[in-house]
């Protein structure tokens, strides 16, 4: 299971990086989105996947799965949700003001 997860994380990071290097604004945003998914899955996988019981200390007092990574991911997902919506907003504003979604044309000069 860990192996499968690791491969999919690798694919997510790869696709994310590829999209990040493309020239269209919306593709860059999508790339960031995929990267964040990759990072979240990495957080889950690196701590080890299911290793026993749920983390209910009263009921199961033997081995239970480490609950911390899930708490971390929850926080990270909320943060990246906010970041994604902000990135869409700023991508749209940039597109509207510059009338292009090509990053090459956004390279900029000293005009303004």
């Amino acid at each position: 299971m860990e192996l499968l997860m690791s491969i999919s994380i690798g694919v997510l990071f790869m696709v994310g990086t590829y999209l990040l290097l493309s020239k269209s604004i919306i593709r860059v945003v999508m790339g960031l989105l995929l990267l964040s998914h990759g990072a979240h899955l990495l957080l889950l996988t690196m701590a080890g996947l299911k290793q026993g019981m749920p983390a209910l200390v009263d009921r199961y007092d033997q081995a239970f799965t480490d609950p911390l990574p899930q708490a971390l991911i929850l926080t990270a997902i909320v943060i990246s949700f906010g970041m994604t919506s902000f990135s869409l907003a700023i991508a749209y504003r940039t597109y509207k003001f510059h009338k292009t979604d090509n990053l090459d044309e956004l390279r900029g000069s000293n005009d303004d």
């Binding site: 990072a39 990495l42 911390l68 900029g108």
Partner: protein, 493 residues
Amino acid sequence: MTNLVLLPLLIPVIMGAVLIFFSKNEKAQKIISGITMIALLIGSITLFIAVAVNGTLVMELGDWQPPYGIPLVIDRLAAFMLLVSAIVATSTLFFAFKTISPIRSRYFFYPFFFFLLTGINGSFMTGDLFNLFVFFEVMLISSYILMAHGSTNFQLRETFKYFVINLFASMLFLAGVAYIYAATGTLNFAHLGVRVAELGQDNILNVIAVLFIVVFGIKGGLFPLYFWLPRAYTGPPTAIAALFGGLLTKVGLYAIIRMFTVVFNHDPDFTHTVLLVMAAFTMILGVLGAVASYNYKSILAYHCISQYGYIMMGFSIFSPIAIAGAIYFIAHHSIVKTALFQFAGVTEKITGTSDLKKMGGVISSHPWLAWLFFITAMSLAGIPPLAGFFAKYPLVLGGLEEGNYIVVAVALFVGLLTLYSMIKIMKFVYWGKAKHDEERQKISVRKLLYSVAPLVILTVVIGFGAEPVLQFTTEIADEILDPTIYITSVLGE
């Protein structure tokens, strides 16, 4: 007593939220934020004194014992950074009162100012790696918004780039958190320090260390990851640029200092050499950008980069005197750079441009502005007896003692070029024949100078009073060079 620790966090976050409700009433916003800022300043001073007298303060949030809960740890370094951040922010806020146009302040300038401070202060205080990530994000989302604030074409374009590179860095940060959690099973700085010492910092932990260098290098504007900085800091209104130049990137540097003293301090031959090489290139390339530029604000932004190089140089030489110098340098640079950005704003108000070649002769109509700028610029260039000299002296001394001759030579050469580009601003903007018309010559900037003058006085004061300040930063350096102090005060063994 320990609840005092929460002040620098609670004051800005609560008052920032309150300010949202007053967004349509400019006067109320100014009064509330002014009072809040002064309360924050007083809180930071109290905290600073408390820590200087009693030593490290630790607050376990929710009473969860470390290493399980998230502690807020204020040692001397954190208290010092909090004080610097409060001073710089106070000056910037009062500057913003007079320069941020009503239309901007209606769109939540002041709330995000305080949320930014929450993130900055939180990053200084936290004792947990993941919590550091959260505070970074609080700080960054506010900084994106402030950077795009006003939505000029230039700002939107640069904010998009800044946003993408920083979000990418955040994802690497998360990956780093995942790796280090897998390797050590903890995220508490103090506990990480213990675990890394047990495991021995070799292959895998060194890889993680490098990952964190990349992450904090992007956030802290170090070579080769600083490319986003100059233009991003040129776009926004001066008050915002001043805060960014003075504080924002310091947080990345602070995170490097924290991580590489408490956690990754076992293999300085490798990690600190990497940092030292980065520092040398940061210094030289940053200053070359400044030498080549003819835009007032972008010269200052490039100087930010080269000064971060100095701070990193002091840290990565890793001897007590050099670290003391680096910490002194952080205070000096925050104060001076904020003041310089504010001078850029004032000058732009007079001349209506930030292009050096279109300015001239401001000294004839506004002598106070010119001379205050001159003092500050000389301080940045490191002319004794101003603060800049005493910031660079320990770095050079430490470098020579440790035998890092090349980096010392680079530092001295960069100092020379800094002086050159400061003189360039002085020559083009303030000397010579006035290029701005009669009407502009009559613009009164006295009120704007009231918020800058304390910073100028401060750089003179910590220059003349360098002895006690350096003594204090040496105490800080001794404290952070011995991570057991930090670890025992958190884990309490």
